[in-house]
Amino acid sequence: MSDHHHKETFITKYIFCTDHKMIAKQFLITGMFMAIVGMLMSAIFRVQLANPGEASVLYNLLPGGWLNEAGGLNPDKYLALVTMHGTILVFWVLTAGLSGTFANFLIPLQIGARDMASGFINMLSYWFFFIATVVLLSSLFVESGPASGGWTIYPPLSALPQAIPGSGTGMTLWLLSITLFVVGSLLGGLNYIVTILNLRTKGMSMQRLPLTVWALLITAILGVLSFPVLLSCGLLLLFDRSFGTSFYLSDIIINGEALHHAGGSPILFEHLFWFLGHPEVYIILLPALGIVSEVIAVNSRKPIFGYKAMVGALLLIAFLSFIVWGHHMFMTGMNPFLGSVFTFTTLLIAIPSAVKVFNYLATLWRANIRFTPAMLFAIGTVSAFITGGLTGLILGDSALDINVHDTYFVVGHFHIVMGLSAIYGMFAGVYHWFPKMYGKMMNKNLGYLHFWGTFICAYGVFFPMHFLGLAGLPRRYYTNSNFPMFDGLSDINEIITFFALAGAIFQAVFIFNFVYSIFKGTKASKNPWKSNTLEWTTPIERIHGNWPGDLPVVKRWAYDYSKPGMEDDFVPQDVPLFEGEKEH
C-alpha cells in the first residue's frame, strides 16, 4: 500500500481529487468564501438597523450603488438577508467549513491512516456540498428573492408563497440546496466514523486518540443521527408546498383565500427541525472545542488536564444534545410539563460544559504559554464559551425564557457561545495547521492584529445585544422605530453596527494573510509547533498516502508535554516509552 504515487493531472489533483488533504482545503476555501458572503450580508443589515430611514444614503457608498438601484433594503430584503446570513453561517461555514475542513484534514493524519476509508465517497461529499453551494447562491438571484422566513424556515410562513415573497422559488431552491447539503454531510460523516473506528494505526487505541479526533468522531455521530431528520422534515415541507398535503398546515386563510389544508401542525415541523437543530449546535461547537483542546495543550507545553473527563464531557454533551430540543419551543404552547422536562435536561448540559472550562483553566495553570495566533484564538474560544454559556442558564430556564425568548438576548447568546466559540476555534485550527496544509507559515504579526481586532470588535457587537433583549426588543425586526418603548435603544444599535463594520475590516487582514502566506509565506519546518501528534511526522511536501514508508506506530498518548525526566518538552506519539517510564 505504500506506493500511492500514481500520476496526477490538474483535474485529479485540484478538482476531482480523492486525497483527504486536498478535499479539506476545498472545504476550507469554499467555507471561507461563504463566510465572506455571510459576513457582508450582516454588514448590510447592520447598517439598516443603526440608521433606520437613512440607510439608503449609506448604501449609495457601495460601489455602483447597486443596492439602491435594486430598490434599497426594504423589509422583505432585510428578512432575506437575515435568513441567508443564518443559513450560510450555520450550515455552510460552521458545519461544512469547520467539520469538513478539519475532519478531512486531521482524521487520517492524526490516527495514522493513508487516507479516508473511501476517498471516492469523500470526494462525492465535497461535490454534493459544492452543488448545494451553487444552488443556494443562485437563489439570491431569482426574481422573488431567496428564502426569507428565517433560517429555521417555520411553516406556514415558509410553505406559502403568498405569505412572503421569499417562500416562492427561493424557498424551493433553499430546500433543494439543503437536501444536497445533507447528502454531502452524511457521506462525509459516515466516512469519518468508519475511518476513525477502522483505520487507526498500530498502537492508536481509543484512549490515545487526540481530543480533536474524539471531538470529530462524536460530531460525525451526531450528524449521522440528526441530519436525516432534517431531510425528512424538509421533504414533508416540500410535499405541503407542492403536492397539497397537510403535514404542517391547517386552518389557514391567506390573501383572503381559505386553504384546503386541515389537520396538520406547524409544531410537528418545529419538533422535527429542532431534533436536528439542537444537535446541530454541538455539531458546530464540538469540533471547535476539539481543536482548542489540542492547540491549548501544544502551546501551553502541558498535557490537557483531565483527558478522560474531557472525553466524558464530550460524550455527555452529545447525549444530552438529543434530549433538549424542546427548549427552542417553550413558547409554542406545548404542554408545560414537557417544558419542565426540557428545562431539566437543558440545564444539565451546564455540568459537562463547566467541567470543560475548568479543565482548560487547569491546563493553563502553571503552563509555559507560547502565544501563537492559534493559541490566542483558542483562549478566545474559552472566553466566548464562558460568556455565552452562562447566559444559556437564563434561556434554558423555561420560566425566564418567557420574556427573553426570540429577543436580542437570544441573538447575543448564540452568537457568542456558538458563533464566536466555533469561528475562533476555526481560526485557531487554520493558524495551527496552516504549515501542514500549505508548507508555509502564516505571518505571525498579522495574526496578532487579526486576533486582537476581532476579539475586541466581537464583544463590542454581541455583548450589548443582551441589553437590547432585556429591554424587550424582538429579533428580526426591520427597524425598532415603530415602538416608542424602544426609542432609547438607537445608541446601542449604533455601537453594535460600528463594531460590526470594524470587525469586518479585521477579517480582511486574515484573508490577506491567508492568501499571502500560501504564495509568499516563509517555509515551514516539519514540526514548527513542537507537537506530539502524528501529522507532524509526515514530510513537508504533500504526498498521496501521507507517510512515504511504513505507517508510524503509536507508543504513547498525545499529551506528553514537559514530562519530567525527558530531554525535550515534547515527546511525539511514535517515540517508544523509555525503560521504567509510566504512560501518563
Partner: protein, 324 residues
C-alpha cells in the same frame, strides 16, 4: 468610472501591503532565522494585552450595566411576572458572579504563565479530587436553580384560573384583533371557513355563546383581576409578546394556545413612573413577513370602574354583524 478607480485603489493597496509584509519578513530574516517563530517578546506583549483585557473588558461590562440600566424593562406589572423577576435576579447574580471570576482568571493565567525560554511547564495531567469538586459544585447549584425555576414555571403556566376575564387574541399578517367573551364568560365557537365580511374572526353565530362576544382593536383590562388570553392565528405563526407583563405565547394556525395572568399596575400608574408616553403594548415576536416589525396592539390597564364603563360601551358581535 468611480468603480474602476475604486477597484484600482483596492488592487494597489493590496499590492502595497504584499510588498510591505514581504519587506518586513525579509528584514527580520536578516536578524533572526525564523521570522514567524514566537519569541519571549511576543509572549510578553500578548500576555500584557491579556492582563489589560481584564480591566477593559470588565469595565466595558460594568459601563453597559450602568449606562443602559434605565433602558431595560421596568419591573413586571403582573403577579407571576414579579416571581419571574426574582428568579431572574437570582440567576443573573449567579452568572455575573461566575463571569466576573472565571473571565479574569482565564486572562490572568494567560498573562501569568506566559512562556519564557528556560521555563518548564508543570506536568499535571489529572487530579481526581479537583475534578470531583468542580463536577459536584455546579451540580448542586444547578439543582437549586432547576427546582426554583420549575416552581416559577408551573405557577406562570397555570391557566386554571377561576373568574378570569376571557379574551381571544387573534393574529394575522399584520395586525391583532381581540374578542371579549361577554357576560357569559364563554367565547363563541369559531371556524376559519366562516371568516367573511364583517365577521373577521370567523365566529360561529349559531353558537349561543357567540352573540354577546365583542370584537375590539384595543384591549382594556381591570387591574388586579385575572385574565385568560386564548390565542389563534389566521395565517402563519405569530407570537403574542407582552414584555411588561412577562407574557409570551405563540399563535399557531390550527391550534389554540393560552396564557393566564393578573395585571397589577394600571397604565396611569406606569405613566407616572415611566413617563407620559408609556403604553402597554402587544407585539409580534415570531417572524411573520414584511411588516413583522410593526404588528402592535395597545393594552390598557385601568380601575374596575373605568373598565366596566368601557366594556359596556362596546358593541356585541350580534349587533355588529346585523347592523347594516
Amino acid at each position: 468610472m468611480t468603480n474602476i478607480l475604486i477597484a484600482l485603489v483596492v488592487i494597489l493597496t493590496i499590492a502595497a501591503l504584499v510588498q510591505l509584509v514581504r519587506v518586513n519578513e525579509l528584514l527580520s530574516e536578516i536578524t533572526n532565522k525564523d521570522t514567524n517563530a514566537v519569541t519571549d517578546d511576543d509572549n510578553k506583549k500578548n500576555g500584557i494585552l491579556f492582563l489589560l483585557t481584564i480591566p477593559l473588558f470588565m469595565g466595558f461590562v460594568v459601563w453597559q450595566m450602568v449606562t443602559w440600566d434605565h433602558l431595560l424593562l421596568p419591573p413586571a406589572s403582573s403577579v407571576h411576572g414579579a416571581e419571574i423577576d426574582s428568579l431572574m435576579k437570582v440567576s443573573m447574580t449567579l452568572i455575573l458572579v461566575v463571569f466576573f471570576i472565571l473571565t479574569p482568571m482565564l486572562f490572568f493565567f494567560a498573562y501569568k504563565y506566559r512562556g519564557k525560554k528556560g521555563n518548564t511547564a508543570y506536568f499535571f495531567s489529572h487530579n481526581n479530587k479537583l475534578e470531583v469538586i468542580w463536577t459536584v459544585v455546579p451540580t448542586i447549584i444547578l439543582t437549586v436553580l432547576i427546582v426554583y425555576g420549575l416552581k416559577t414555571w408551573d405557577r406562570a403556566m397555570n391557566t386554571n384560573v377561576s373568574d378570569a376575564t376571557v379574551i381571544e387574541i387573534y393574529s394575522k399578517q399584520f395586525d391583532w384583533t381581540a374578542r371579549y367573551s361577554g357576560l357569559d364568560k364563554v367565547l363563541g365557537k369559531s371556524n376559519y371557513r366562516l371568516v367573511k365580511g364583517k365577521n373577521v374572526l370567523g365566529v360561529d353565530m349559531l353558537d349561543k355563546n357567540a352573540s354577546d362576544d365583542m370584537v375590539v382593536k384595543e384591549v382594556h383590562l381591570p387591574v388586579n383581576k385575572p385574565v385568560l388570553l386564548m390565542f389563534r392565528s389566521r395565517d402563519v405563526i405569530h407570537s403574542a409578546f407582552l414584555p411588561h407583563f412577562r407574557v409570551q405565547m405563540n399563535c399557531v394556525p390550527g391550534l389554540s394556545t393560552q396564557f393566564a395572568f393578573t395585571p397589577t399596575k394600571t397604565t396611569a400608574q406606569m405613566k407616572e413612573s415611566e413617563g407620559d408616553d408609556f403604553e402597554y403594548v402587544l407585539l409580534c415576536n415570531k417572524i411573520c413577513g414584511s411588516a413583522h416589525f410593526n404588528m402592535q396592539m395597545k393594552f390598557i390597564i385601568e380601575s374596575e370602574e373605568d373598565y366596566n364603563k368601557w366594556i359596556s360601551s362596546q358593541k356585541t358581535l350580534q349587533n355588529t354583524l346585523t347592523l347594516k
